[in-house]
């Protein structure tokens, strides 16, 4: 648990976390609150859709389904942020953000924070235990906190690391 908690509780987040102003992604956030990853899929042509839309960009049918997807993925790309781009981040850098490719959702991608196992928060050395493109990741549902305005979020950890939280 200790390996995860520091970043989990003090994540580099600014501004309100939750649905876009028009609410077209509200089911995604509702799903995270009940520990389910929901991604859009067209009920007509079966295209996976992300980012969230009101309609399918391929066949233009409205009201895509929200399909539960296993929260597993692969590192598509990553960056380790050292610059505190917001004052709130000063104590949190460095941290690693990954773009996660979801094989169970047609290869659609999500951004997320890599929780433990990036080797950086302890080492403070660039290049230490860098993520590798294609590496397996698993999602961690993180309950809402004060920082996220009470909204649950999905974080990620490396699949080959020992689980560090409940």
């Amino acid at each position: 648990m200790s390996a995860v908690e520091p970043l989990a509780l003090a994540a580099p987040v600014i501004g309100p976390v939750g649905p876009l102003p028009d609410g077209r992604d509200a089911p995604f956030w509702d799903g995270l609150a009940s520990r389910r990853l929901l991604i859009q899929r067209c009920a007509g042509c079966a295209a996976w859709i992300w980012g969230p839309q009101w309609n399918c960009p391929e066949c233009h049918r409205f009201d895509p389904d929200w399909v539960e997807v296993e929260p597993r993925g692969r590192v598509f790309t990553w960056t380790r942020t050292w610059q505190p781009f917001a004052p709130e981040f000063a104590e949190l850098t460095p941290y690693v953000t990954v773009v996660v490719e979801l094989p169970h959702a047609g290869g659609r991608r999500l951004l997320g924070l890599l929780l433990n196992g990036d080797g950086v928060r302890g080492a403070g050395v660039a290049g230490a235990e860098d993520p590798v493109l294609g590496e397996d990741l698993e999602g961690v549902f993180q309950p809402g906190s004060e920082l996220t305005g009470g909204t649950a979020v999905l974080r990620w950890r490396r699949s080959n690391q020992q689980r560090g939280e409940s």
């Binding site: 600014i14 976390v17 790309t77 380790r80 781009f85 981040f89 953000t97 991608r109 951004l111 493109l133």
Partner: protein, 386 residues
């Protein structure tokens, strides 16, 4: 798409670059300063201006500018939608459309901002363009967004990191000859580049542009009108804008992820003008970060991911001797950054023969707008009509 016929740059003007948050005027005042300088350069009475075009969420609307300048009649006011510098050249295209269609005759293309007033970094950029699906995961800056792309450009496409370094070094090399460049005193040797702190890996400090206060303006007219004015006309020969399918505001779900978005722009520019990359004498490529410019050069056909290491060397990227001179006034990285508009001025100066790092007899000058933006654009200036 065909070439643009009959539109020319008649004048350019700028305020120079202030450290972010230190400009003596708000953005509107800075824009007026730049516009007055462009009118002085051209020999045009500012009251005769009748159109304004901008890009990148510029807050300085044509109506405000026309009121501030006392313009006789505003007939055209437009902006390329969307953030980033993607619309840098699209705004030139809007001005050309206004002039060719007879809706306006003396059109200013401009960009200006002052951080104290506009708070561009933390409002326009972080909150409007990095939506919650970025912000919830610590991604609030374009540098980070570009860093994600760059990591895959390096690790998947195999572009060598030395290409990023060469691009940044070329900018600082050119800035040394530019008295107005913010980074003119930085000698960016390998040790300084590689020893600098990381901002967002793989980007270190000198891979990144800085945000400045300032403004710049370009006055466009018909070629006939420009020929009657003070300066030799510089022809705006072509503009192409593009958002390909499966590219854009997709929260990093773009198909061609390591592209900078210009592949169709490049194809269309070369097809329309009959020019090739070999005909380009000098290039200004928007580089908020080094790797995004590298990707843009690949998109336009100057090299491939495989040949980037051979083509994008410092020696080849600098004027006057290099085969692919880029960002000859120092660019966004080393001259200063007002959303890329300084690059437009330098593209014009090269055709005029007035650059601080002049490419001898430059006749074809390529301008590449903001890379990795949802809607990107490029333009070609020429000494003679195509």
């Amino acid at each position: 798409m065909t070439v643009i016929k009959g539109v020319a740059v008649a004048g350019i003007g700028e305020t120079g670059y202030y450290k972010r948050g230190t400009a003596p005027y708000g953005a509107l005042g800075l824009c007026v300063k730049a516009i007055l300088a462009a009118c002085e350069d051209a020999g045009v009475d500012p009251h005769e201006l009748d159109g304004f075009c901008s890009h990148g969420d510029d807050r300085n609307e044509g109506v405000e500018l026309a009121a501030a300048l006392g313009c006789n009649e505003l007939r055209w006011s437009s902006i390329v939608w969307g953030g980033g510098g993607g619309g840098l050249c699209g705004a030139l295209g809007q001005a050309a459309a206004a002039i060719i269609s007879g809706q306006a005759s003396k059109v200013i293309v401009l960009r200006g901002h002052a951080e104290n007033e506009g708070a561009r970094l933390m409002t326009a950029v972080s909150h409007e363009h990095m939506n919650v699906h970025f912000r919830a995961h610590g991604v609030v800056s374009p540098t980070q967004v570009c860093a994600l792309r760059a990591r895959r450009l390096l690790d998947h496409d195999g572009v060598p990191a030395d290409a990023f370094k060469a691009l940044a070094q070329a900018c600082y090399f050119h800035a040394a000859n530019n008295p107005g460049a913010v980074g003119r005193d930085v000698v960016l040797d390998d040790d300084r580049y590689l020893g600098a702190r990381y901002i967002a890996e793989p980007y270190r400090l000198y891979d990144c542009s800085r945000e400045n206060d300032g403004a710049a303006a370009i006055l466009l007219t018909s070629v006939e009108e420009a020929a009657s004015l003070r300066r030799r006309p510089v022809h705006l020969a072509a503009v192409a804008q593009s958002q390909p399918r499966h590219w854009g505001p997709l929260i990093d779900n773009d198909d061609d992820y390591t592209s900078a978005g210009f592949k169709l722009v490049g194809e269309r520019l070369w097809r329309a003008t009959g020019l090739t990359v070999d005909d380009v004498d000098v290039t200004q490529v928007y580089e908020n970060v080094s790797g995004a410019a590298v990707a843009a050069l690949i998109d336009h056909g100057f090299c491939t991911a495989q040949s980037a290491g051979e083509v994008l060397t410092l020696e080849n990227l600098i004027a006057p001797g290099g085969g692919l001179p880029v960002n000859t006034s120092g660019g966004s990285i080393a001259e200063g950054f007002v959303h890329g508009i300084g690059l437009t001025l330098e593209a014009v100066r090269q055709i005029r023969g007035e650059s601080c790092n002049q490419v001898p007899d430059a006749a074809v000058s390529l301008l590449i707008g903001g890379p990795v933006a949802p809607f990107v654009s490029s333009a070609i200036f020429t000494a003679e009509a195509l």
